[in-house]
């Protein structure tokens, strides 16, 4: 049953990258839509809204980092992965869940704040930094989830 352990670990890496990536893609798309609406009326604000659009993209990156860390941990990149038992595989899978779920939901939540921030930039461009701070607050939870996932993955011992 060593294959099941490995499969679970890979599934964990996949789900971390998948959900975080999905959330970011959706979030960046939402803010991009709002940004395009503003640019259609005032192209000079492109740079200001571009920063807001990038913000919900970080969760995708965190999911990617989590997945890479799992692959390093189980030596998947070297081509000869560690033989994991089912409980060990489950441990890796569980370690990936914080990043997967928090990544997905925080990206969408952050996108809503950032899209509202586009309206702030539209009316009061000098207040852009405040819009960014509001949006960045959501990022806290994605960072915490990344930390938890990474700490668990790094502390797992397969000997």
């Amino acid at each position: 049953m060593s294959n099941l352990g490995l499969a679970l670990a890979i599934a964990g890496a996949a789900i971390a990258a998948l959900l975080s990536g999905m959330g970011s893609a959706k979030g960046v798309g939402m803010v991009g839509e709002a940004a395009a609406g503003l640019i259609s009326e005032d192209p000079s604000k492109f740079t200001k809204v571009l920063i807001l659009q990038i913000l919900p993209g970080t969760q995708g990156l965190y999911g990617f980092i989590t997945a890479i860390m799992v692959m390093i941990k189980i030596q998947l990149l070297s081509g000869s992965p560690v033989a994991l038992t089912t409980p060990q595989g489950l441990q890796v899978f569980a370690a990936c869940l914080p990043m997967a779920f928090v990544g997905y939901f925080s990206a969408i939540g952050q996108a809503k704040v950032a899209a509202s921030g586009v309206s702030v930039v539209a009316k009061k461009p000098e207040q852009q930094s405040k819009a960014m701070v509001l949006s960045a607050m959501v990022e806290t939870y994605a960072v915490l989830a990344l930390l938890i996932s990474l700490l668990i993955i790094l502390r797992l011992n397969f000997d």
Partner: protein
């Protein structure tokens, strides 16, 4: 349609809000020494210069342009039609009367409208009311029958006016936007009070009052009609006892004050959209804001043409959105 589908539209509208006139801009126009100077000041704010004294066509074009922007921003938002459906019923009146008196209605058609006025002209001309959209079909048929059978133009107008109010609420309720629904009910409430007061003054009977008043949710139609029939004092007391004392106060001043009060009240409702990041209400609020701005400009330019004092103009100015 989900609110986040208006992300593009709301951002574009927010950018357009920066070009709305402010109180200081209106004050500058009011203080202009004459019509010519007021028009040139307006041109500096981005409005086109009207040809001669005909500022009305220029402002009408502005309204149409704003509506085109609103429709481009949210083409599927049927609830926004609540703001222009009154023009369809206005056109219906014009077409029916033109048909009855054999003159060309085209000069009297209002824009923007939900249905193409040409389709309305054709439907009435061919008596093909079934080809009209549902929201206007029954009213068109009933008003036409009334006009042709009784020749009573006032009754025909009342049928159309009541249908207008019903259609405004029906369109506003098509979305799930609370601000729009509240706006529509406020609009109908103001129309009902105006109608009720006119009926008090002209001594209309209960049947007429019930026909002319639309349901707005603020009071029961029957008790409203009873108050109208009981006389002016009872009607005013009815307003006070239904939590509408402010309307009473405005009505007691004069018709102009009441109109201003109603417009300000409706804009106040739309101002809630300022705090809304998504959804159709910021788009609707922009249209209302622009309509209010255009209404103020009409008052100012008309007053400047007639050399009305600045104090009188200020009294008639509406609250602005920004």
């Amino acid at each position: 349609m989900k609110n986040k589908d208006y992300l593009y539209a709301v951002a574009a509208i927010r950018a357009s809000e920066n070009s709305l006139l402010r109180q200081s801009d209106l004050e500058q126009l009011i203080n202009a020494p004459d019509y010519k100077k007021a028009v040139s000041l307006l041109a500096e704010k981005g409005y086109e210069i009207p040809s001669g004294s005909d500022y009305s066509s220029m402002l009408d074009r502005q309204t149409e342009e704003v509506w085109a922007l609103v429709k481009k921003s949210a083409p599927d938002a049927e609830e926004l039609n609540a703001f222009i459906v009154k023009n369809d019923f206005q056109n219906l009146k014009a077409v029916l009367k033109a048909e009855a008196m054999s003159y060309n209605a085209e000069d009297y058609l209002a824009a923007p409208s939900v249905i193409d006025p040409k389709a309305l002209l054709e439907a009435v001309g061919k008596r093909d009311f079934d080809s009209l959209p549902e929201f206007i079909r029954d009213a068109a048929r009933e008003a036409y029958d009334t006009l042709t059978k009784t020749g009573n133009g006032q009754l025909c107008d009342v049928i159309i006016d009541t249908a207008t109010l019903g259609a405004i609420i029906a369109f506003a309720d098509k979305g799930s936007d609370a601000v729009l629904s509240e706006y529509a009910r406020q609009y109908v409430l103001c129309a009902d009070i105006k109608t009720g007061y006119r009926c008090v003054k002209t001594g209309k009977n209960a049947a007429f009052v019930k026909l002319a008043v639309a349901e707005c949710g603020f009071f029961a139609k029957d008790s409203f009609a009873s108050a109208v029939l009981a006389g002016e004092e009872e009607f005013m007391d009815f307003l006070s006892s239904n939590g509408l004392s402010e309307y009473r106060e405005a009505l007691e001043k004069n018709a102009t004050a009441f109109e201003k009060f109603c417009d300000d009240r409706m804009l106040e409702i739309m101002k809630k959209a300022k705090m809304t990041a998504f959804g159709v209400s910021p788009i609707a609020a922009y249209f209302t804001a622009k309509e209010t701005e255009i209404k103020c400009l009409r008052i100012i330019l008309s007053a400047k043409q007639s050399a009305v004092s600045n104090e009188v103009i200020r009294e008639r100015m509406r609250e602005l959105y920004v």
